[in-house]
């Protein structure tokens, strides 16, 4: 006997994510899911972003790692609520982890950053209720990452090309990286930044402010 099921494999995750998205919508929260390989600069980008925010901004951050709360420590010094999600082995955040961590943060934030676990594969499949996804790619990686990990770039609204201060020392071809990203996702927006020198961060902030 064959029973037709016709449902998503991650429908439990998707159900929780839909609940989060509804909550964010009702409260006027903009939620961004940040995805990249380990070491591309997600935490650095958040440091520079929080550093630039007026203290009156209602911002919160959840940061995911397999182990340690090092990233939460780095981010907490700017005075905004930050919670570490330690996944204990899981290589991605899921909607239930986000829901649990949010229970621990006052319901006042209007911008929520979700820093995913450093991984260009698994986070792609898990909806966290976010309004937008940004992929960070640094110039010390290969410019063909969008082709090697098409699913991740296909589901992204923004690609942040980070560490552009290192361009004189690496063979990374910016134009090729942009072309590859647009082949996988023709509508993707792209900003070039250096979290070290601050170059381009105004464009990243403009992208963000336009969504609030």
């Amino acid at each position: 006997m064959r029973i037709p099921l016709e449902r998503k494999v991650l429908n439990e995750n998707d159900r929780i994510a839909a609940g989060l998205r509804e909550r964010f919508r009702e409260r006027g929260v903009f939620c961004l899911n940040l995805i990249s390989s380990p070491g591309s600069g997600k935490t650095s980008l958040l440091e520079r972003t929080l550093e630039g925010f007026d203290k009156s901004r209602r911002v919160a951050v959840l940061t995911g790692d397999i182990q340690t709360d090092n990233d939460a420590r780095r981010l907490a010094r700017f005075g905004f609520p930050v919670r570490q999600i330690t996944t204990g082995g899981a290589c991605h955040l899921d909607a239930r982890m986000v829901e649990r961590a949010l229970a621990d943060i006052p319901d006042e934030y209007r911008i929520l950053f979700l820093e995913n676990v450093g991984n260009l594969v698994c986070p792609t499949s898990y909806d966290l209720g976010e309004d937008a996804r940004a992929v960070v790619l640094s110039v010390t990686e290969g410019e063909d990452k969008p082709l090697k990990y098409p699913a991740t770039f296909h589901h992204a609204d923004l690609m942040v090309l980070n560490k552009i201060d290192l361009l004189p020392y690496v063979p990374f071809q910016m134009e090729l990286a942009r072309e590859y990203a647009r082949r996988v996702q023709p509508d993707i927006e792209i900003v070039d930044v250096s979290c070290t020198t601050g170059e381009g961060l105004d464009r990243w902030r403009a992208w963000l402010e336009a969504r609030l």
Partner: protein, 112 residues
Amino acid sequence: MSIAASVLDAVRAETALRPGARAVRAGLRIGELSGVEPDSLRFCLEALVSGSDLEPLAFDIELRPWKRRCLVCRAEFRVLEFNPACAVCGSSSTEAAGGDEMEFAYLEMEEP
């Protein structure tokens, strides 16, 4: 691995609804853009089933192609060589039309 575990949770939930029945085959659809590698998924599913109450559950994994739809000529086409332009008329105005599926299609059960 957690995706494979979600599949098996769903199999157990369906089986629990039909006392005495046993799941023998689960049908899945995995898209090229789902972020899931079908061979790895099969490996994880088989590893989890082996030695468990679900043995000998088999899996039928259907691969779904990466597709886009042309906004000019409305043709749906498969994306080859990462080329998002319309395969019929060449237009670059196209939209996503499939390939991110990660779906549970069916479950085959044997009743006593």
